[in-house]
Symmetry: C2
Subunit: 214 residues, 2 copies
C-alpha cells in the first residue's frame, strides 16, 4: 500500500532528481563557471525556495549531483559485471574487439552529458577547496570500489598493483580525450585515437587476464 507520506516523499524525491538532471544539463552545456542557481532553475519547473529546501547551498547541489553521477557509474558496473567493463568484456568473451569495447565506453559513458558534467565538477574540485574536502574522499572510495570489479581474489600484491595501474592509465587516457576533443574538429578522429590506444594496450590486458587466472 502506498501511504500519503510515501507519495509526499516520492514528490520530494522527484524534485531532487529534476534539479540534479537540470544541473547536469547546465554543467554539460554551459560549464561549471556558468552553471548558476538561476540557470539550473530555468531548465526545470521548480521554485527557488524548493531548490533551497533540498539543497541549502550551491555547494550542496553540486555534492548531490556528484553522488548521483558516482552511483550511476557504479550501478552500470554492478548490473553488467563482469562483462560491462571494456577490459572484462574482451577478456571474458570473444564478442567484438577491445577497440570496439573502448569506443563504446567512450560514447556511452564518457562523451555523454553525465560524463562531461562529471569532468566539469572534477575540474572545479581542483581549485575549490571547500568542494574538494567534501568530494575527494568520495572519489577515492569510488576509485577503490571500481578497481574491485577487476581484481579477482587470490592475486599477489604485485599483480594487484599491475592491474590497478593499467586501469588508471586507461581512465587517465579516456578522460584526457575530453581535452583533446577541443583540438580536433573531426569527431571521427577521436575514435581513431582510441582504436590506436586499444591496439597498444591489448597485450597488457591479456597479461591481466592470465594473472587473474580467468
Amino acid at each position: 500500500m502506498v501511504s500519503k507520506l510515501d507519495k509526499k516523499k516520492q514528490r520530494g524525491e522527484n524534485t531532487r532528481k529534476a534539479l540534479i538532471k537540470s544541473t547536469i544539463d547546465c554543467l554539460d552545456r554551459l560549464g561549471y563557471a556558468e552553471t548558476s542557481i538561476n540557470r539550473v532553475l530555468e531548465g526545470v519547473d521548480v521554485s527557488r525556495g524548493a531548490l533551497m529546501h533540498h539543497f541549502p547551498s550551491k555547494e550542496d547541489l553540486v555534492i548531490g549531483t556528484v553522488d548521483f553521477l558516482l552511483s550511476r557509474i557504479l550501478r552500470h558496473y554492478q548490473q553488467e559485471s563482469p562483462n560491462s567493463f571494456p577490459f572484462a568484456q574482451v577478456t571474458h568473451s570473444d564478442n567484438g574487439t577491445l577497440a570496439d569495447a573502448l569506443v563504446t565506453y567512450w560514447k556511452n559513458i564518457i562523451d555523454t552529458p553525465e560524463g562531461r558534467a562529471f569532468s566539469e565538477i572534477i575540474m572545479a574540485t581542483r581549485t575549490d577547496k571547500a568542494l574538494s574536502l567534501r568530494i575527494s574522499p568520495k572519489l577515492e572510495d569510488w576509485n577503490e570500489q571500481l578497481n574491485q570489479f577487476f581484481l579477482p581474489p587470490g592475486l599477489d600484491e604485485e599483480a594487484i598493483e599491475d592491474v590497478t595501474l593499467t586501469l588508471l592509465i586507461w581512465r587517465s587516457f579516456i578522460r584526457g580525450m575530453i581535452f583533446q576533443q577541443e583540438f580536433h574538429s573531426d569527431p571521427d578522429y577521436i575514435e581513431k585515437i582510441i582504436r590506436k590506444f586499444a591496439m597498444i594496450m591489448e597485450p597488457h590486458l591479456r597479461l591481466v587476464q592470465t594473472q587473474s587466472g580467468a
Copy 2:
C-alpha cells in the same frame, strides 16, 4: 640607444605581461569560474583602466593568456629541439630512460601553474562558444606545429599517421592525469602511473624511431 618611445612601449609590454602572469596565477589557484577581472587585479599593481586598455574584455584577456601559453610551449621545443621532447630525448640519446623523460615532462610542463592554467582554459573553451571560435583555430594550428617536431621528412602517409596518433595518445594521457590527480592524495602515485605508461609505450616509440630512420 633607448628612446622615450621604447621606454613607453616597454612599460606597456611589462603591464601586459604582469596581467597575463596574474591571470595564469588566478586560473591555477582559483580555477576558471573564480577568475574575475577583480581577482586578476588584486594580484598585481595595475589599475582597472590599464587592464581594459590592454584587454578590452575579459575574453581578450583569456585570449592573450592563451597566446602566451601556446608560444611558451613552442619556444620550449624550438630551443631544445630535437632533444627536448621526451620521445625524441630517449630515441636520440641514451641519457636516461623514457620513463624519466615523461616524468620530467609532467613535472616541468604539465603540472605547473602554466600547464594547469592552460587546462582550465581548454576546459572552459568546451562550453564557451565565443571563446571556442577564437581559440580552436589556434589550438589546431599549434597541434599541427608541435607534430612537425617529430615528423622527419620522407615519411610515407601511413607512418605519419602512426606517429601522429602515438603523440596524441601521449598528450591525452598526460592531460588526463590532471583529472586523475584528484583521485589520489599521494603525489608519488602519479609518478608511478606515468612510469607504467612509459613502459607500455616504449616499444611503440622505438617503432617511430625505426620508421623515421634515425
